[in-house]
């Protein structure tokens, strides 16, 4: 039977990895991911988890080790963030190209410089087109559930792609929350043992990761593109089955009080919970404001997103990263691209907020909703605002 316990979210993620019965963990510690791998190394050292824990010398080695281990048919896990993920990025492109179902937690953190260890989504945006499936947790329970979901999806023979679970650093990883920890029997029912479709095996030799000449590279990328697009169906099925088994249902795009809304806020991650409180408050004040949260970031859930925002007058997209390209935040750019083909397009204003742990308050969300309405009335185009910046 599942047990509801008060536990630090990092430790709950480690417990999910243990319940997934991984074979190999190769990781390098980096704040704020440290508690996850620290706890996993304890679980292995104390004999609670029968796995190889490989304490590598860098994140580049961590992902390289994960590729080797996954290619040999082992269920493989790692965790990182920010500068660590930047260092492993070279190999992050290779894992999905080789169709290796590695699962990774990213304890989202800003990228230097200036040097910063605090939470935002810069690292998520850095790796957005690497070919990994990416989900985003809003709270501790989701971090636990999405970790199990990640193994289930990644290893599905119809998918075979590595999967990132994004968990906000500190604001989620370091807080203690009541979390329902499933028991081993329940997890085993949801997550069957990994059956590799192809693996390094001396009795049946294959070459994984050879050169792709110009005659082959385009076809290889096309196959990868189809794989990540096709993954969505399996992601949905795996959430449906999770809900049927354990009562918690997840969707790629979650809506909150969007009925009859004229203005929508769009968010990802833990700040969505603050945004919900702001929406409640604005609804009480008679404003027609709702909230749309992305739980699935890659592949981008175009269909579900468009269905969720259809018919509204204006959208305020909150980005927790600044794309230094003159266009504001990367999420808003994608939202605009998603809406371009719609016959009726809502007005969009982009708010870059919560960079490197800067607080985003209920008042800030009210400011965003009011701001997008005012900007729409003024008809200003292509705009973004950095919230809370001192002039």
């Amino acid at each position: 039977m599942a047990k509801r316990v008060g536990i630090e979210v990092s430790l709950a993620i480690s417990e999910a990895v243990k319940l997934a019965n991984v074979d190999v963990i190769a990781a390098y510690p980096i704040t704020p991911q440290t508690h996850i791998v620290e706890h996993l190394s304890e679980l292995v050292a104390d004999g609670h988890l029968d796995a190889e824990f490989i304490p590598v010398e860098s994140e580049h080695s961590a992902m390289s080790t994960c590729c080797g281990s996954s290619a040999s048919g082992a269920r493989t896990y790692t965790a990182t963030c920010s500068q660590g993920q930047a260092l492993m990025l070279e190999i992050c492109y290779i894992a999905p190209a080789l169709r290796l179902p590695i699962v990774m937690t990213v304890a989202n953190r800003s990228l230097s410089g200036p040097i910063s260890i605090w939470n935002d989504h810069s690292d998520m945006m850095m790796s957005r087109d690497t070919g990994w499936i990416q989900t985003v947790a809003e709270n501790g329970q989701e971090a636990f559930d999405l970790t199990l979901h990640a193994f289930r999806v990644a290893e599905d023979p119809r998918v075979l792609l590595p999967t990132i679970v994004n968990v906000d650093g500190f604001t989620l990883t370091h807080v203690i929350e009541p979390i329902e920890i499933l028991d081993q029997k329940e997890v085993d029912r949801y997550l069957p043992p990994y059956q590799p479709q192809m693996r390094l095996d001396p009795t049946n030799p294959v070459s994984i990761g050879p050169v792709g000449m110009p005659e082959v590279y385009t076809e290889a990328k096309k196959a990868q593109d189809e794989a990540i697009k096709g993954a969505k169906q399996v992601i949905l099925e795996a959430w449906q089955e999770f809900g049927d088994m354990f009562g918690r249902y997840y969707k790629p795009v979650e809506t909150y009080r969007t009925d009859g809304a004229e203005t929508l806020l769009v968010t990802m991650g833990s700040l969505s919970e603050t945004a919900m409180i702001a929406v409640d408050q604005m609804r009480t004040d008679g404003k027609n404001v709702g909230l749309v949260r992305l739980r699935l970031f890659r592949p981008f859930p175009f269909e579900e997103f468009l269905a969720a925002v259809r018919g509204v007058k204006q959208i305020a997209v909150m980005d927790r990263a600044l794309g230094l390209n003159g266009a504001g935040g990367p999420l808003a750019t994608e939202v605009k691209a998603a809406l371009y083909d719609e016959p009726e397009r809502p007005y969009i204003w982009n708010y870059v907020a919560g960079l490197a742990g800067r607080d985003v308050t209920i008042e800030n969300f009210v400011e965003m909703a009011d701001g997008v309405e005012a900007a729409a009335a003024d008809g200003v185009r292509q705009g973004y605002t950095i919230i809370n910046v001192r002039e």
């Binding site: 080789l98 169709r99 070459s207 050879p210 005659e215 082959v216 290889a220």
Partner: protein, 97 residues
């Protein structure tokens, strides 16, 4: 499209663009890259084997008389053998000639 060359539809590529048949590179014809071919003057050749050693494609095999002969299915015409031959026994000849 020819499967042995790996030039296939994206649907027919092995998972992750892997190579599932060991040694299949032997089926890859690299001879059609060539614009010049090596021609050995066996009067000059001293059978030192340098051409065999330096050829990046392991094109040469020694015949029963001790001379090294290239397999033109693989020879790319790079000219390394001609450059390295200490007896100047190999000359590169235009393919069209």
């Amino acid at each position: 499209m020819a499967k042995e060359t790996g030039i296939v539809s994206w649907k027919d590529l092995a998972l992750g663009c892997s190579i599932v048949k060991p040694g299949s590179s032997a089926e890859l014809k690299t001879g059609d890259w060539r614009s010049q071919r090596p021609v050995t003057d066996y009067e000059k050749c001293v059978q030192c084997g340098q051409c065999y050693i330096f050829c990046p494609d392991m094109v040469f095999t020694q015949n029963e008389l001790g001379f090294y002969q290239p397999n033109m299915f693989y020879c790319k015409g790079c000219g390394i053998c001609a450059r390295e031959c200490p007896a100047d026994a190999i000359s590169m000849v235009e393919e069209s000639e």
